[in-house]
Amino acid sequence: MSRGTALPAFLRGYPHLTTFDRINLVDAAVAVLEGSYAHLRQKRARYGTDPVGRLSVLRARAELMNDRRFLEEVHAVFTDLRDLHTGVRPPEPLRSAVAVLPILVERYLRRGQPVYVVSKVAEGVDAPDLVAGVRVTHWNGVPIDDAVARHAARTRGANEPARIARGLESLTVRPLAEHQPPDEHWVDLTFLTPDRSSLTTRLPWRVLRKRSRLPGAGRARTQTAALAMAPVTLAVDPGGEAAQLAKRELFGRRRDGTIPSTLPIFRADTRRVGRTSVGHLRVWSFLQADHEAAVRECERLLRAFETKGCRGVLVDIRGNPGGVVLAAERLLQLFTPNRIEPVRFAFTPTPLTEAFCTVDPALHAWRSSIVGAAGSGEVYSQAFPITDPDTQANGHGWHTPLPAVLVVDPLCYSSADLFAAGWVDNEVGPIVGTGATTGAGGANVWTDADIHARVGSDDPACPPQLSGGLDLRVAVRRAVRVRASAGIPIEDIGVAVPEDNIHGTSRRDLLEGNDDLLDFAASHLAEREPG
């Protein structure tokens, strides 16, 4: 594989941060965490971590560290929050880089024990015996189970299933905006060939450039003032998006569905299940700023399933990193006659969040409860939906008569979590998954530029402007569920999959297009007949 740049060559261009850049970053991070981080209290309680204290210690040592060590330390502080929404994004070239090996490693369960296999091999790998399906036994000489566990511990997955899923992915795909570059320049992969002989092959890390499609991801910092009051409705894991893009480059463009979609966030297929057919709607992400277009396209695809005689729809959001809250929540109404109650969001009451809600008309609803919290001691503001319940969550006026099942995994995150929560809480249909929960990211995420667009530099609560090409993302509004689960946060908990609805990934799933999983999901369609 010769795509991208060799890791040693890439590391020669590691960005330099001045002492000013570093201390500025630490000061800004402390101000943002204390002033606006919605989960600070929860993370302290759940993980016993004190990011503000650790950053204060780091501030004193910032000048003495080399660039890589400094960014590693910053990264470690945020890793321990187990929150993919909140963290520091490094400057270029790290920001848009993804370190990759030319294989994917995935796992399935056999008699309850995990088995690790190479599920995909990129073109051009010079190792004839390394083919999809070979079983991996060691990773740089470390038994693969232990290697995955160590990688899982270094990810920001919010719960055990999410950490294992992300640890497995980070074996071979690491967005450098979210991960540190690999320490090793290559990996010695030991695997069993079909004839059970053990081979070891050396795979060098290479670095691809993948520019994010997130709104504002490529802008220069000097332009941030011009952002003024752009609506902030993102809920996304940017690293997950970068990983998706890198995998697509390595292992080939996604094939089109049998029903072509005009939006890249969807793929629609029909598949045979027994003597009937079902629709398989893959939703790769909710990164669709024009959420109205997402609703229209989804309706068109669902109508096509009906036309083709499908008896139900499998809505598959595995690996979905999230995106625009409105895009996710507005789609729910297309699958059910039930009225959709959208997820609610709450700020933590501080002078900084009060400033947001004073300045930005779209946030005025939250202001009075933030002001009131000073007297009542409430730790969160009143919670309101981002998606308007009448005009947006329920206003479309059409839903499919087909029953639907939601398919999730521990890698689906953020807006995908919100979608899953809405699916369950509004009783849209059954949920099945390859793990016990979704990825558990429940918040609306802002950048430091979103904050500066709403708070003047004269405000004492205003964090310092970042420099050196760094930026900061933070979960400012935490999401809580509705109806029967009213008030339960999504962060760290995720959306649970009932035990009977969990499907252990099979070898056939990994190597033959998730046939077992989708059959398992389709079996749940029987619970509801077309109306």
Partner: protein, 525 residues
């Protein structure tokens, strides 16, 4: 409203000069318009007759590097040092003579006679045509200056604190970060002594400044003598400014900035006279030093190098004059907007009128001496000048003063009360009284402080001007601190206001400068 007429040297971008022009200044202290005298007066100035100055009108000169509390003291020569230049700014604070001859007298005067000290040192600036100075040290109460603007505390009619200033060079980049944050978030400027000396080890200060994030727009570096060509280029690229003090550099370190490299980099250079112990008496003097260095810059380096043919003179006369007008004005404008250094509509009516020595207006400014200063306006208000011009411009509360043997008048406001005025006799008399009996002055201060419980921040505490230079290294801990009055020390004779024979003799008496500064005497002829 005032209007003054003469040859107007605007120092605008086009270097416009009106052979016979009028500068109209409104009641807001800002220039309304600058136009040929033949043009009809603006409607708002109907009935205002322009005052004929008979001279050449320039923007008030700007001195962006000084330490005013020490400016009653003469040139300092450390006997132990002999002819050996110091390598950097950390060496001379350890010299045995630094405490008794420089630091302690300056600090003592600041404690016991701040109002008179401020008036005296600002008068030194203003008789050199300087309307804005830098380096007034810290004070325990807010002051509004006596005569000149002081850029460290000048608010330009706002409540904003435009500049951060320090003469202490931190060891760590991290210590500069809060200042850099203020520059980024509040748009503050930063005036900072950088790489002062000739020791290559001073590169650490540059690295710290870069790492600390202060090398950016709004940064005004002072000295920079140890900066390399690449570092000067980096300063220019950051749109920062450098204040050049060639006299002081020669006096202390035997060499000055690589001005050939600074010019090549397009760096914005300003002039600063630095303090009296190692500097000229005003930027009018420093301008002449710069013009000397300009013709043989290699000889002014430490160690000296041969000046490369074709590289000198480095600057034109216009460029030299910009170093005391529009260049510092532009550096200030980066953080405070259009204020000083140019005669253009909207800019402040800070003006100096010089006599005519030569036809070329820029060479005329370079050759002007204190005796050629005919009138000085600050914000359109007459502050100093010939009696006839002071009267014609409506000056009140004037006090007579003799400068360079010529009778002049000045308006000296109390630093604490703009409605109260000092006479020059009182200013000098108070300082001489302290000189005569420092112990009595110390007792008087002790009584005044006792009446406010020793709290210098008490509104009724006397005004105190704290020296901004390092304390002598052998100084006892706690002495001359913010709440610890210094002990009485002998005070040297007050240095005269002008570059006079005694001063030229003192210059020639020293050998640190390899004779390069001896050419100055001829420039006052």
């Amino acid at each position: 409203m005032r209007a003054i007429r003469g040859t107007v040297v605007t120092m605008d971008d086009a270097a416009t000069v009106l052979a016979d022009g009028v500068v109209y200044i409104g009641d807001d202290g800002r220039i309304a318009t600058v136009q040929p005298s033949t043009d009809p007066a603006p409607a708002a100035f109907a009935g205002v007759t322009p005052v004929r100055t008979g001279g050449v009108i320039y923007p008030g000169l700007v001195d962006l590097h000084n330490h005013l509390p020490y400016n009653t003291i003469g040139l300092w020569k450390d006997k132990v040092r002999a002819a050996t230049p110091w390598l950097d700014h950390n060496q001379w604070t350890g010299a045995a003579s630094y405490g008794p001859e420089v630091a302690k007298p300056g600090a003592f005067l600041g404690w016991v006679s701040a109002p008179s000290l401020i008036a005296y040192v600002e008068m030194k600036a203003i008789v050199g045509g300087c309307t804005t100075v830098q380096g007034n040290g810290k004070v325990n109460h807010s002051v509004d200056g006596s005569l000149a603007r002081n850029i460290d505390t000048e608010r330009f009619g706002t409540k904003k604190d435009f500049f951060r200033v320090t003469t202490i060079v931190p060891d760590k980049a991290a210590d500069l970060v809060p200042t850099a944050q203020a520059m980024v978030t509040k748009g503050a400027g930063f005036i900072y002594h950088l790489c002062e000396g000739v020791d290559p080890k001073l590169v650490k200060e540059w690295t710290n400044a870069v790492e600390g994030g202060v090398v950016r727009r709004g940064f005004i570096a002072i000295h920079g003598t140890a900066l390399t060509a690449a570092q000067l280029a980096a300063l220019a690229a950051a749109d920062a400014s450098l204040v050049w003090s060639p006299f002081s550099n020669l006096w202390l370190y035997g060499g000055t900035v690589d001005i050939v490299a600074a010019k090549a980099a397009g760096l914005r250079l300003c002039l600063g006279s630095d303090w009296a112990p190692s500097g000229t008496k005003s930027v009018l003097g420093e301008l002449k030093v710069a013009s000397l260095a300009n013709v043989d810059p290699g000889a002014w380096r430490q160690p000296p190098v041969a000046t490369v043919a074709g590289t000198a003179p480095v600057f034109s006369d216009l460029e030299l004059c910009r170093m005391v007008t529009s260049n510092p004005g532009d550096a200030v404008a980066q953080v405070a907007g259009p204020q000083i250094g140019r005669l253009q509509p909207g800019w402040l009516g800070d003006v100096v009128v010089m006599g005519r020595r030569t036809a070329d207006p820029y060479r005329n400014l370079i050759r002007s001496t204190e005796r050629d200063v005919r009138l000085v306006l600050v914000g359109g208000e007459p502050r100093y000048g010939m009696a006839s011009l002071m009267k014609a411009t409506g000056a009140t509360n004037t006090t007579p003063i003799t400068v360079g043997g010529l009778a002049r008048q000045a308006v000296i406001r109390s630093p604490q009360n703009a409605a109260k005025f000092f006479s020059w006799t009182d200013v000098v008399g108070r300082l001489e009284a302290v000189r005569h009996d420092p112990a009595a002055a110390a007792r008087e201060l002790a009584l005044a402080l006792a009446s406010v419980g020793g709290d210098v921040s008490d509104p009724d505490a006397p005004l105190i001007l704290f020296g901004d230079m390092p304390r002598p290294r052998d100084d006892a801990p706690g002495s001359a601190g913010r709440n610890d009055p210094p002990l009485p020390v002998p005070i040297p004779a007050l240095q005269s206001l002008v570059h006079d024979t005694a001063w030229f003799d003192a210059v020639d008496d020293h050998t640190y400068h390899r004779g390069l500064l001896s050419g100055l005497r001829g420039m006052w002829a």
